[in-house]
Symmetry: C2
Subunit: 207 residues, 2 copies
DNA sequence: TCAATTTCTTGTCCTAGTTCAATGGATTGA
DNA sequence: TCAATCCATTGAACTAGGACAAGAAATTGA
């Protein structure tokens, strides 16, 4: 008994699933067996840089945990204007929830900006997981709550703050991202032109 | 048997719960008994115009369905700038989901703009409902999905469209609201100054 | 390795939207 | 009913940020 539990822990916290197991364990308490079942249902996939996990018009058939790498979710409006909705890095989830659940075409592009290792549920495996271990409902509900909260936050910032503050808030909140993604994508996330972002940075550098 | 079902339907679709029952039935199929149980758990409350359902700093202890009336959810940033996050009218849900679930102080104000009749869950009744009839998980998950989707939509519009288009999109999407709420609240929803909204409207009227 | 491409910077000119102030109309409430 | 407040409009002066253009720097890839 003692040995079993020791090796269980050893396995799960040294396996490739270590991170995702820790991540879901933030929302609820799971046994090793439950985590193992989840791991079994996951599909682990590696994507090279600059590949699309999802393109506009496709139905999103995954909900993915990023174990390694960095992706960008964006949207193209009627005038061809690109809006970056989010950057997702290690320990974040990606996908188009709405498209996934309602099985309808997505409006978004999801593109890797680096080589990525992603752990994926599809509608079937996710349904199985929730059916077998309902506690996972909570994990996904909290995921969505956090997304909603951060979207609201961003809307408020976008509406009420000038470009310079938006940029400072961004680098404070996501300090590692500026080193990893092209600057004009950050501009498109902040809702300002790349030229203006460059000027903002120049002004900040002078101080 | 025939009579029972007839009167059941008669009751539920002529009672004060008619609307909310129809609303939740969009996300899943419920029996009359299940709807009756939900109705039993709801607290029906009337609020006069210009009263707060929630103030910044309070913990949101409700999740409410608006049966009658109109409310505004807003946020005040560091500079005292008000951002209207949403208007909610008949057949919409109000509350601060994050504050509700995590039982932490809200950043928002929720204020009635008209006299309102609201049907409320509190954390206990909601928990009971979900425990007794897990199908309701789906209702609330879809509620949240819709909120998230509409927030994303709004962010995109806010970032990529000029004031006039934002206004036109707003009145197309929510045709009844302009008649019901002061115009400067709409400006604060759109992220533009009330003066400028007035000018936009003047220009549109000229055509 | 070096050409090709992508990204970033800087400058100039321009415009959508802001701020402030003044006026008049509409609601509210005692 | 009439004052008080709140709300919408208009105008004039200003500014944050956009669009365009051209060059420099960095990355990429064969």
């Amino acid at each position: 008994m003692y040995f079993a539990s020791f090796w269980d822990n050893f396995y799960y916290f040294t396996s490739m699933f270590e991170n995702i197991n820790r991540n879901v364990s933030k929302s609820a308490v799971f046994t090793q067996k439950e985590l193992a079942r989840m791991n079994e249902l996951l599909q682990v996939k590696t994507f090279p840089k600059k590949t699309y996990l999802l393109q506009e018009g496709e139905i999103c058939n995954f909900e993915g945990y990023i174990n390694k790498g960095c992706v960008r979710t964006y949207y193209i409006d009627e005038n061809g204007f690109e809006v970056t909705l989010m950057f997702s890095i290690e320990d974040w989830w990606v996908g188009d929830v709405l498209s996934f659940y309602e099985q309808k075409p997505s409006n978004f592009f999801i593109e890797t900006l680096e080589e990525c290792e992603v752990m994926l549920f599809n509608p079937v495996t996710k349904e199985m997981l929730l059916a077998e271990i309902p506690k996972f409902e909570r994990v996904f509900r909290m995921m969505m709550q956090r997304s909603l909260a951060s979207m609201v936050n961003r809307l408020v910032t976008t509406i009420s703050k000038p470009a310079q503050e938006k940029y400072l808030e961004f680098i404070r909140k996501y300090p590692t991202i500026p080193q990893r993604v092209p600057q004009h994508y950050i501009a498109s996330y902040l809702g300002i032109s790349p030229e203006f972002l460059s000027k903002v940075r120049a002004k900040l550098a002078k101080k």
